[in-house]
């Protein structure tokens, strides 16, 4: 069962949340970030090339221009491969664990998986981010030595940074699954 809704992130950009409901114990949430806009790309390229041309008129060395082209290309490739995240996915499977995937614009994917027995809870937390106060969803992990203490806080959806309404949706579904898991783990 699939559903798609539109939300916005903390800066006002458009986000799309896709929810997939595979079974009572398995759900997936996929947040798509806005693509790289042509306007910003053009602006950056023009700035770099104008600066290079300015340097060229000062130094009369044509290597500067070729260097500027290389830098722009490499910078763009690097940005697409290492920085620009297209989609972030959160997958919860009841008895296995939680997985977060980030896929970059160049196609690279990075994943983190957390086993279910390490997960204490999923909460929405507040944070001061520059001049704003934002909400973020995070996973609390148990301390291996002290089971009642929290050893780590793992935030999710870091690059897309959705607003509270989107987070509430995800939070509710996660809590349903966690409750379901606790119920089944208690009964033999």
């Amino acid at each position: 069962m699939e559903e798609e809704r539109k939300f916005s992130d903390i800066c006002g950009g458009r986000l799309a949340l896709q929810r997939r409901y595979y079974s009572p114990s398995c759900r997936e949430f996929c947040l798509s970030c806005p693509r790289l806009s042509l306007r910003s790309l053009t602006a950056v390229t023009c700035t770099v090339w104008l600066a290079a041309y300015g340097l060229f008129t000062l130094c009369e060395n044509s290597m500067i221009l070729s260097a500027a082209i290389f830098i722009t290309l490499l910078g763009l490739l690097g940005y697409l491969h290492f920085v620009k995240i297209d989609q972030e996915t959160l997958l919860i499977i009841d008895s296995l664990g939680i997985q977060m995937t980030s896929s970059y614009a160049s196609g690279k994917e990075t994943t983190t998986f957390i086993e279910m027995n390490k997960v204490k809870d999923v909460v929405i937390n507040e944070a001061i981010y520059m001049q704003k106060v934002i909400y973020y969803l995070c996973i609390l992990l148990k301390d291996p030595v002290e089971p009642h203490e929290i050893s780590q806080v793992v935030p999710v959806f870091q690059s897309s940074k959705p607003r509270l309404d989107c987070l509430i949706e995800v939070y509710r579904s996660c809590q349903e699954i966690l409750a379901h898991e606790k119920a089944t783990s208690r009964s033999p």
Binding site: S23, L96, E109, T110, T112, V145, T184
Partner: protein
Amino acid sequence: MVLKAFFPTCCASADSGLLVGRWVPEQSSAVVLAVVHFPFIPIQVKELLAQVQQASRVGVAVLGTWCHCQQKPEESLGRFLEGLGAVFPHDPWLQLCRERGSKFWSCKATHRQVPAAPGAASEDQVMLIFYDQRKVLLSQLHPPAALPDHQAGDASASTGGLAAIFDTVARSESLFRSDRFDEGPVRLSHWQSEGVEASILVELAKRASGPVCLLLACLLSLVSAASACRVFKLWPLSFLGSKLSTCEQLRHRLEQLTLIFSTQKATDPTELMRKANMLVSVLLDVALGLVLLSWLHRKNRLGQLADALVPVADHVAEQLQHLLQWLMGAPAGLKMNRALDQVLGRFFLYHIHLWISYIHLMSPFIERILWHVGLSACLGLTVALSILWDIIALLTFHIYCFYVYGARLYCLKVYGLSSLWRLFRGKKWNVLRQRVDSCSYDLDQLFIGTLLFTILVFLLPTTALYYLVFTLLRLLVVAVQGLIHLLVDMVNSLPLYSLGLRLCRPYRLADKPPALRPRGAHLPPPQLRLPPQALLGLPVPQAVLGGAHLPLEAERGQAGLRGPAACPASTAARPRSAPTQPGWCQLPAGQRTMRTAAPACGQALPLGSQWGVPAGLPGCSPAAPRCLGGGPPGCVPGPWCLPVAAATCAPPPGLQGPLTPVCSPSGPGPSHPNRTESLCWCLLQGWVCEGATNRP
């Protein structure tokens, strides 16, 4: 609770048979290790399982049936398969079925016993998870040896979760010895049935390595016996041997070669890795040495070098003479004591004159010597660099001598000054109590003492300046020698084999060395990875074929914003010795493939996934630590400690013996915990510091 069945991908295309594996009741998961094909005799299957259980202490049992046939199974086959459940009692009984060429699997798990709670179904939901057996096995993710061996069938409380699955597969090696192509009583299908990649050369090398190791071990033992004979322990040779870095390097290499070619097999993976690293470093060394040799002999570079050596030495001596002339005048505008200045200056100039004559005496032999030295490069680049180090030490011997003279003079002066200062104030050093006591002096003692004190004070700037200049020169030489040592240590201890494994076969490096394991007996968490969006919605086998494995990044580096409550594992995992770079011994994740499939039977929810664990570097070479930094025995601190800082400061040997009571320092001795501080203190006191010549 959902029943999880871990199924190896290699068995997905195997013929029908019985599923053999281990049941982990705490997580309600069944780890399937192999498939036993028809026909079989139940007694023999049970015998085999008992053997495996005894050998590997893993509770293997028959978990259920696997059916892979042309069309839908008929009634009779179905009843036969259920009947097998009576022969091999196991609760719950798994029944996996797949039609050839179909996309759908059917999974059933039935409980034999009637459940206590009413209303609970006797059939569970089954989640089928695929894993790549070969990579899981080769990743060597073993729990720490401190864990007690658990009984067959139990799961230890500390190996929780998915780590227990890893453990099961890794420890059941004895099950994978026989195959369905073998002529045994029981035919099994597992990862070995897919065929293992091997090459004739590797196999031949393995066969040949036995006798070759034996031969080389004999030769090496002869050589080490020869080097350990009594002649070398006598005074001149032993002194030279300890000072020359060539001897040290050769000794080190001999030790390493003995270890590599010893006839004992490596006991655990870390030792194997260590041996492999040493072997690769020796081979690299020899290769680089040969490259150097060929470069030296081309275009007669050796001759050019020999020709250039004497003029360079002359030039250095000339510069030193200029320096001394400058010091004898008014250096930097300071006014020196004329008489002392002239004496010291002429003394050092005479030494330089002696040195130049010595060099000129040696000049006809230099080319021959250099040629022989160049030959030694085929023993390795490190040997050549050590010889270069020794040559620099010999060529700058006069600088060392000047430094020693200046230091001794300065040291004497400082001791005299401190003693007379105490006299000036009416105090005395009590040798018995090691403290300063007051003392009543006679008038003439006071008079002479004050006179001498004044003389020494006014002569202090001259001596101090000479001492400063020559210490700086010596430091310069030591810095150059230190760089050479750094290079040698780097070649010696770079774990190239492990680096190569990380690049080519990362799943082999999944484990961390014991020194870096986080505290507490828990394993690093394995990771599942599910495939990209494009493959979702496709049926399982297609997803599996569609390449649902992509490289995995490290767990540590990923989540970006980790909270300030940093993982306790990482702080405990930093190696204990401060000078080492922790980055040396920790490398990011390895990778392994594992695939998961539908939670509900038949419906394809292709989740491909991959294991990844934070990996360590199991094979750091335990080369004798080249600096005094020490550190955990498994890791190499060597290349990262600056040899200069590892100076050992000793009181000037000439002042030991009867003169010690006069010259022992007042005040706190060099018991500073900080090495740099103690070095400065030694220098200030005028003690002579041995540079990087001493290796512990």
